[in-house]
Symmetry: C2
Amino acid sequence: MPRQPNHDRDALIDRARDLFWRQGWAGTSMKDLERTLDMRPGSFYAAFGSKEALYALALDRYAEDGAARLATLAEEKGPFAALRAYPALVVACDTAPASACMLAKTVLETGAASHALGEKASDYLARMESRFRDLFAAAQDAGDVDPTLDPARLARRYQSDLLGLRVSAERRDVDAAALAEDIALGLDLLRPR
Amino acid sequence: MPRQPNHDRDALIDRARDLFWRQGWAGTSMKDLERTLDMRPGSFYAAFGSKEALYALALDRYAEDGAARLATLAEEKGPFAALRAYPALVVACDTAPASACMLAKTVLETGAASHALGEKASDYLARMESRFRDLFAAAQDAGDVDPTLDPARLARRYQSDLLGLRVSAERRDVDAAALAEDIALGLDLLRPR
DNA sequence: GGTGTTGTTGAATGATCGTTCAAGATTATA
DNA sequence: TATAATCTTGAACGATCATTCAACAACACC
């Protein structure tokens, strides 16, 4: 008997993710959200509960998409080639709201320990790192990476390199594509001898 | 004939830098500043003009200190050893307001192109990178780094690695010291063969 | 000790913050 | 077509935002 919502919840979360990704947590006001989502306060709070709850949904969406993109890449090219291609892929997309990782931006802005959103983002970063670890282990099994190296350690370094790349890409006067290539070239040094 | 201020301007800027560094631009309110600096609005605006002007001063202070620390390290240990020691040094200081670089946090929060503070921070990052380039060049002259490599390219990668390290250090469950060591070990691969 | 200059105070400004809620609009079922 | 359930609207809330300013306090010089 009810009236049905005249908006697509999935599309709204996508748009909110892009807005939060670009402007950050404190930098995004309810006015901004109302304009971007074309929603009035009442509908917004009925649909999402609060600004923070929607940010949490946006983080979920962001992390899901990132994990899916990595998984697809690994399926298409195999573990080592995926790790090698991922940095360039992440930086190449110029339609993205920002070059920097939304998880990293969230951790930096809210703090990984003090704020619930920061904790969530930090957890997602850890989850991504363990995906990288799995890929490095698989690359070792495939004979593409020196089997004496520690996959967890490689993943930690790789994750850090990616975060640095994506911060650098936000700067002016930095050739992010060249930097991504340098990171990929660094991976070749891990090949068994 | 005038009355003299009852505060130490240098100390105030230091405290403001620490507060902004920890809480960011939008995350720091005038109430926060009044409490931390023990100043009432009138004194604050007479002394600094605006919140943004003080943030700019804090950025200057932060960049000066960073450059001075690097210069001291280079003087004490020589260029290559300084580059090798710097990552661990940056992460080791647990009295700092945050592990992440204040310049990077500013760029991520305000945008390197859209906001005056972001532009300033981006410029300071570029200036640090050119210091790194000079150190790599000096390390080549000293025979510590393969002379066929491009110092600017090495500096770009090194700067990115540092930014990644310092973002990672903000996360929970990341051994920043071990990561810093891995970065230092990576520099050894640049030695001439 | 008065005078002039500057620093400090704290209330007040208008704007914007995130959020609430009563009233009206819409639609599937009875 | 009446009813019930849900969604949407938009005004209003108290809190906080960065900033201003008139009144007061303090100190160097005549």
